[in-house]
Amino acid sequence: MQTIRRRFRSILGDLFLLSYFLFALFPILWMFLISFKKTEELYTTTFFFHPTTENYRIITIGESYVQGTGTFRPDFPKYFLNSIIQSSAAVLVSLIVGVPAAYAFARFKFKGKEDLAFTFLSFRFAPEFTVLIPLAILYRKIGLYNTYYGIIWVFQLITLPLLIWVMRGYFEDISPEIEQAAMTDGYSWWQVFWKIMLPIVKPGLAASALLAFVFAWNNFIFPLILGGAEVQTVTVSALSFLSSEQAYYNRMAAACVIASIPEIVLALSIQRYLIRGLSFGAVKG
């Protein structure tokens, strides 16, 4: 029953789809490509060149080179480590604080519950500078500026609302009767939470923690304002490649590739749970 008109329409559809994915994926491919270009070939060739891994070697092992006003040691691995420590610590704190809260939001009735939940959500939408400007003052006063703790604390603005709302959705999906059955079987609410609720939401919990990690990792504005040299993340450091006169685009591309690998891997592993995380549990993927 495939009429001519229907087949024509599906070809047109596929053409449009191909062109969109070209627009979406080509830049990543191109970034990957020029990260293997030697500096000399940077300006002369487009697709055919002699690939080299020198860019990766320079930014990972690190090498000092003169850059205008002073020597600049782009020790990229340190920034990479900073990002990992800060993002994972922030997610850990949010898990410890947020998951019980999400369970309380899902199961218990208490005064002011919905306003509380909505306030957490409003953090996600508040413009960053409303809190960054006062924190810039506060951090310098209490010595949190340019420290891991400072960044981990401010990252809560990203990771905590996400975890609370997504986990609330997962807890609400579990029928209350499963808990009631477990309690009737003789377990206190804490053991029920630990032995029944958490194991059931484990996959969703892992996925939303990873997604929170990616959003913290990708954040640029918090470390830019509240982080100094010691705690600089990959996102802030990527920008510094451009400021040098002798623009090492190929090294920047290499830095961008390394900075993006964790996210791509994580994104593929939590494919099924992405929808829920992205929409804060509003859309059940």
């Binding site: 009767e177 009737t184 003789g186």
Partner: protein, 370 residues
């Protein structure tokens, strides 16, 4: 094994009164069914006893202990949920063993293993022990949920519509099977259902509730033969009992009910006459069960006959259901499968006058029960 007593229990959700001043006693070791339409507060009553819900008013005794302040895990109650509520991440074996591993219950792993295997044998789900709940059929899930409640020896066993989600054939078989099992379970059982067949066949006593209020408690036969009111009468029996509003008049010493503006005239025996006179009512609602109405070809004078028009005739396998209308009120009766009726054809129906029930039109109470 313990007695359960509910004393003036009231439970509301927002402004909906789920349980309304309910007082009910279930004897030690008794099998009682709680029957009522959906939304009557049956499940809420179970959850009040198990502790998953707390009443606003009233006391709950298990044995002679007031259990209101106790949480479910402190009440030694076992419950099989309507939605089965199996632990999705455990195998069937782990689901059955879970209650035995609860804190405060020191069963050795060997004891647990024996007990689980014994219950699995009883419910013949032994081949399923290593499966995950997701791979079980409805009937199998229902048995695992029942097994999880039977595995320990609780003071009370609460069963919430255990077999109502199965398809008709499986339900008939499971009901018969449950009848066999229940004789071997030595504990007080409270079994909730909306299906009157289960209420008739399984328990020692039936409690009928609607909108959270108790209508009647009694043996299945007692509740079926002598319903306390119209609600109970129409709840038991399929198709429903036929109700006719009648005027009372006396004709040469006998009480005569006339209804459907002359469509029906019933002359009653002396026993009924005495009861009716005592109530000094001028109107009554009489109830006739479908199997007490028989379609006849010829009419004899001393029989009570209602004549009407066939509305529709359905042959349902074992029997036919004839719906006939008199003064555009429809009545149902059961016929043997061999009969056949054409739509709108006239039909005469004989009524067995001694089997009729009589209700007070205002209080809807059965006048034979004081």
């Amino acid at each position: 094994m313990a007695k359960v007593k509910l004393e003036n229990i009231t439970k509301t959700f927002g402004n909906v009164v789920a349980v309304n001043n309910l007082s009910l006693e279930i004897e030690d070791g008794e099998f009682m069914v709680l029957l009522g339409p959906s939304g009557a507060g049956k499940t809420t009553t179970l959850k009040l006893i198990s502790g998953n819900e707390t009443p606003e008013k009233g006391l709950i005794y298990i044995g002679n202990r007031i259990v209101n302040p106790l949480e479910p895990q402190q009440r030694n109650v076992a419950m099989a949920f309507e939605s089965y509520a199996l632990y999705p991440h455990f195998t069937v074996y782990e689901n059955l063993a879970f209650p035995l591993k609860a804190p405060g219950r020191n069963y050795s792993t060997q004891q647990i293993d024996n007990r689980v295997k014994e219950v699995a044998e009883l419910l013949n789900i032994t081949p399923l022990l290593s499966r995950a709940p997701a791979h079980l059929s409805g009937g199998q899930r229902q048995r695992v949920s029942l097994g999880r409640a039977l595995v320990r020896d609780p003071d009370i066993l609460l069963l919430d519509e255990p077999i109502s989600h199965l398809d008709a054939k499986l339900r008939h078989r499971m009901r018969a099977e449950f009848k066999a099992i229940s004789s071997r379970i030595k504990t007080t059982i409270l079994y909730v259902t909306h299906d009157y067949l289960e209420a008739m066949s399984l328990p020692d006593r039936v409690a009928i509730i609607d909108h959270g209020t108790l209508h009647q408690v009694g043996s299945p036969e007692d509740v079926f033969r002598r319903p306390a009111n119209i609600f109970v009468a129409s709840l038991l029996g399929q198709p429903k009992i036929n109700l006719i509003k009648c005027r009372i008049s006396t004709e040469d010493g006998k009480i005569c009910f006339t209804g459907l503006n002359g469509g029906v005239r019933l002359l009653t025996n002396d026993y009924i006459r005495d009861r009716v006179l005592k109530t000094n009512l001028d109107h009554v609602i009489i109830g006739i069960r479908p199997f007490n109405m028989i379609p006849v070809d010829e009419v004899h004078e001393n029989e009570t006959i209602i004549s009407g028009k066939v509305y529709v005739y359905e042959r349902l396998g074992t029997r036919g259901i004839l719906t006939f209308s008199v003064e555009n009120q429809n009545f149902d009766l059961i016929t043997p499968i061999s009969m056949d009726f054409k739509i709108d054809a006239p039909v005469n129906v004989k009524i067995d006058v001694n089997e009729i029930m009589i209700f007070d039109p205002t209080t809807e109470k059965n006048i034979f029960i004081d």
